[in-house]
């Protein structure tokens, strides 16, 4: 359908969207996480081990990789019950880095020389199917009981608790499900790149996902999707700047934060678009 080059960009774009959404989920509950690259590493190593050494079918391995990553997510959720804000940011950062160092020294998964030989299983269709599933999930989440609990926690944790929301449960779910999505993203990545090594999943990658989310906007899930898409495609489309594209990339980030610190998309914009594109057949004038 597409040439190999464009296809690879689109697949990575899809994986980036998945990763940005995995970060957005805890974010929507007020939990900032720099651990997503670590969760991604767990998912990609776990699913690769399963397909490579145990002969599991790809989709089952993908799911189990996500599950293992979710377990780690719940684990990191426990300290998150107590700490918030910048402390949580640093704790998740430390966790991500410890995962990286662990895989660097873990001989079973290749240690410093990395792990290769996975089959090419990821393609445009399964990546974007998962993106579509996630979009439906986040759309439904917005209107669900848990989604509203997340939103109220983001606004004010104490007030949310007073209103009867089980903060501990909500935080663990936010971290666990976020980590699950990140693990899936990692599995998809491993079976596309066909080679993984631990330096790839370092601090820089975690920060990159973080930038995707804040760049696109943290108020609604379309923000991270747009942020990931723009920031993935941007360096590719400005190849004519080739030498200077990373500097250009940095400049875009700085300028956007000056002009639109809330990110590209916010609720106001979404409502405005929704009003403009209202279904003309919808009945008006009645409650």
């Amino acid at each position: 359908m597409f040439s190999g080059y464009i296809e690879s960009i689109l697949v990575f774009n899809g994986i980036h969207i998945i990763m940005a959404l995995s970060l957005y989920l805890p974010f929507s509950a007020g939990q900032i996480s720099l651990a997503q690259a670590g969760f991604m590493a767990i998912g990609s190593y776990a699913s690769s081990v399963l397909t490579l050494h145990f002969g599991f079918p790809f989709y089952i391995a993908l799911f189990l990789g996500g599950l293992l990553s979710a377990l780690a997510g719940v684990l990191i959720g426990f300290p998150a019950i107590r700490i918030t804000g910048i402390y949580l940011l640093l704790l998740t950062l430390a966790f991500g880095e410890m995962v990286r160092v662990f895989f660097l020294n873990f001989e079973y998964t290749g240690g410093a020389s990395g792990m290769g030989g996975m089959e090419l299983k990821t393609n445009l269709i399964n990546v974007y199917s998962i993106v579509a599933i996630l979009i439906v999930f986040f759309h439904r989440l917005d209107k669900s009981r848990m989604g509203r609990a997340f939103a109220s926690m983001r606004e004010d944790e104490v007030a949310a608790e007073v209103m009867g929301i089980n903060i501990i449960k909500a935080k663990l779910i936010a971290f666990g499900v976020g980590a699950f999505i990140a693990g899936i993203g990692g599995g998809l990545y491993a079976h596309y790149a066909m080679y993984i090594d631990s330096p790839k999943f370092g601090f820089i990658l975690a920060v990159e996902f973080f930038v995707f989310v804040v760049f696109g906007g943290v108020e609604i899930f379309w923000g991270p999707i747009l942020g990931a898409t723009l920031l993935t495609l941007l360096p590719e489309t400005v190849r004519f700047l080739s030498e200077w594209r990373m500097i250009f990339y940095g400049l875009v980030i700085v300028v956007l934060m000056i002009l639109r610190p809330q990110g590209l998309i916010d609720k106001k914009l979404v409502n405005w678009i929704a009003k403009r594109t209202q279904n003309p057949f919808r009945r008006k004038g009645t409650l």
Binding site: L90, L91, M98, V101, V207, F215, I247, G250, L251, M257
Partner: protein
């Protein structure tokens, strides 16, 4: 052997302290994790190196030069990526400093090349024998210079008028401006001082490892975070001691356990402190956000 390692640890730790003091000063006043600080550190190292290479000047001159250059760089960063951003979005300045850090790293790689380079022998290498210990003149110089800088910065913050203004601003920026302190100026000065310290630390670390690369800043960011946490966010004295502690942990884990786990120890400490004592070892203040 033990004391030899101890000296190495003190030397390394004191340079870490310099970076972490800058971090913690900026954090204390702005509540901002300054991601581009590591890049200021890296550029400081390169500027010092270039001064030595081009003009063959004394290493002290090179350090001072790189401090001035780094201070100017810090001022530019503050003007470009911090001041224009609205204050109610507390993640926006953090992201914009990430943007600046990408830009600076690229500029560093473009100008100075992506290779790892070392300092030429600028200080005559003399080895002193104190009992069983061997101390080189470079080690002594680094340790002395770092300690002098730390004492200076401590006195500056405690005694001078600007230092008092900085402390007041970090306590409560609104009240400080009501008291007639020009907080914008204080913020600019804080950025300059922090960056100057990072510049000096860059040259000193360059001397310690004799290896400078455009990517050395990223690693230092992580170390800076760890130290800042260790000492308590916004605590200058804590950052000094925290730097030494991290130096000790790194050197001794390499010497006695295994080198590839070096970083894991630093982050392990960070995680343990966050979980058990989030205000840091010496922290007394708690930040809201």
């Amino acid at each position: 052997m033990f004391f030899q390692q101890l000296i190495n640890a003190l030397m390394l730790g004191s340079t870490y302290s310099l970076v972490a003091i800058g971090y913690t000063l900026i954090f204390g006043i702005l509540n901002l994790l300054h991601f581009a600080h590591g890049e200021v550190f890296m550029l400081g190292a390169f500027i010092g190196l270039q001064m030595v290479l081009l003009s063959n000047c004394h290493i002290v001159v090179a350090i001072l030069g790189s401090m001035v250059a780094a201070a100017i760089l810090g001022l530019i960063i503050e003007r470009v990526s911090f001041r224009p951003i609205k204050k109610e979005y507390h993640l926006a300045p953090l992201i914009s400093t990430i943007g600046v850090s990408i830009i600076l790293q690229e500029i560093g790689a473009k100008i100075f090349g992506a290779d790892i380079v070392g300092f030429p022998k600028t200080i005559q290498l003399v080895t002193y024998n104190i009992g069983p210990l061997q101390v080189t003149s470079i080690q002594l110089f680094i340790l002395a210079f770092a300690i002098i800088l730390m004492i200076t910065i401590h006195l500056f913050i405690q005694r001078t008028k600007v230092g008092i203004a900085m402390r007041v601003t970090s306590e409560n920026a609104t009240n400080a401006s009501l008291m007639g302190i020009n907080t914008n100026r204080v913020i600019a000065i804080t950025f300059m001082i922090s960056s100057a310290l990072a510049g000096a630390a860059g040259v000193l670390v360059g001397l310690v490892y004799n290896a400078i690369s455009p990517f050395m800043g990223t690693e230092m960011i992580l170390k800076g975070f760890t130290i800042m946490l260790l000492g308590g966010l916004g605590n200058v004295m804590g950052a000094m001691i925290g730097g030494i502690i991290l130096g000790l942990v790194e050197i001794f884990s390499v010497a006695y356990i295994e080198s590839s786990y070096k970083d894991a120890f630093a982050f392990g400490i960070m995680a343990i402190i966050l979980i058990t004592k989030p205000t840091g070892l010496f922290g007394i203040r708690l930040h809201e956000e």
